[in-house]
Symmetry: C2
Subunit: 274 residues, 2 copies
């Protein structure tokens, strides 16, 4: 039994373009579903803003996505997930899935108990990772959350090899390693591109056994499970469409292509004012 | 002869906190004047946004400053100066001074003809530096403008020494040096803090004779000249007041203190929604 509601798209929201990694993973898993991705590129990054500002921006963006008649909202932004998941979930008449819990849950299920997190300043201050572990019943695990304000520019600029990103990463990994973490969670939407570099740097520091986890696959799997559990799947059998809405259109789509993994211009791209 | 208008404050506008370096230089030169500094910290940085977005934000911020009855507007943001100086100057009934022309003028007066500029992506794309040189009658000089998206995070985080900022700077200075520049203009409001590092790195690269110029002193001097020429000086003889208005109050004022050069909490700090 499907309803009209089932034919709405799935909404994916991020401050910037990093969340296109989540859109890609969702499109691969749910190829029949339509998606609307909203990137608030006119006001990114959120991770250095105050809580109230992030809340204001998140509410405004959720309103835009509701106008697209989305049936489910995916928060690809870890900062938004850290401070706005509960208010949005309490207000929208649809399931809202955040980026923080799935990655922590995957690491806990894999037996990790001392989880280092590379995060935005706002996420680090929010206490959201400790709350998420508690809500998961993972009282035996701890999250060591570090603000990593230099990493978003490296990811957005595609500076993914060489001495400069290695030095920047080492500066953040060293304090985590001194706290004997057994895993590193890439806790921001643009960080999945940094995964090979984090793994290489951990190996160079003699810690190659440490698990590196990005939040993308666990979040996408959680969305698939939610679509099934809430009986929200589309009844259509033709390929789903991707629609990209940005608050500020970039000069170049190079960064978008890197995050999405293919040419973003194959899809509908439009601008919206907020 | 002074009028009521002369008793209004001077407005200083920047996207972020870097423009506090300009506020400091102005306060030193015009100690009797009142100042209102507006930092659009909820939406900084502007340098990666599209032209229309920067224009929209600049107009909104100019409206806020007009409510403070400013008598003169100083654009500390090089990005705003690059794309919004003319529209703002054409619209506001007061003098509007931008950050780009004074620095270029100072270098040209010092005999520099091949000026390398470290700038935001938006400033670099705008062509504003070439237009400013033409307007100065400096057709014998050229500006080589380079987008430097990694530098604002270094300045804002106070990462002003060590291998990481040196490598980041070297990556940008090398292409400028290969074009035989005779001077380097620090073309963003947060870059004055990087001046010692740029000088050290140029010396390390065997180019210690290259002049490094930030835009702060030339802009402040231009404001002093404009206040005199337009007869806008206050008639008061008690010390002027600084008022700081931010669209997003930071968790810590460490960066603000670095840019201002003293404890910002000595002054009136308030938040405004845009």
């Amino acid at each position: 039994m499907t309803s009209l509601r089932n034919e709405g798209p799935i909404g994916v929201f991020d401050a910037g373009l990093g969340g296109l990694t989540v859109l890609r993973a969702l499109h691969e898993r749910l190829p029949l579903e339509d998606f609307v991705f909203l990137g608030d590129t006119a006001r990114a990054p959120y991770g250095t803003r105050g809580t109230q500002t992030v809340l204001n921006y998140a509410h405004a963006c959720a309103r835009v996505l509701r106008e697209h008649r989305i049936k489910l909202l995916v928060l690809a932004s870890h900062t938004v997930s850290a401070v706005a998941l509960e208010p949005l979930a309490g207000e929208l008449f649809m399931p809202v899935l955040g980026a923080i819990t799935p990655g922590l849950s995957a690491l806990h299920a894999a037996g990790k108990r001392r989880i280092g997190v590379l995060a935005s300043p706002r996420s680090a201050l929010s206490g959201a990772h400790a709350r998420a572990l508690a809500a998961l019943g993972a009282a035996d695990a701890e999250a060591r959350v570090l603000a990593t304000p230099l990493l978003p520019a490296l990811a957005d600029e595609g500076l993914l090899q060489g001495e400069l990103p290695r030095l920047a990463l080492r500066q953040y990994l060293t304090p985590l390693l001194s706290q004997q973490v057994d895993s590193v969670l890439l806790g921001a939407s643009s960080y999945p591109l940094l995964a090979p570099l984090v793994e290489a740097e951990l190996a160079a520091l003699g810690c190659g056994e440490i698990t590196v986890q990005d939040g993308v696959a666990p979040l996408a799997d959680a969305v698939v499970a939610a679509v099934a559990a809430r009986q929200l799947a589309t009844a259509r059998t033709d390929p789903g469409k991707l629609r990209i809405v940005l608050t500020d259109l970039p000069e170049s789509f190079a960064a978008a292509d890197r995050y999405l993994g293919h040419d973003i211009k194959q899809h509908s791209i439009s601008a919206v004012d907020l």
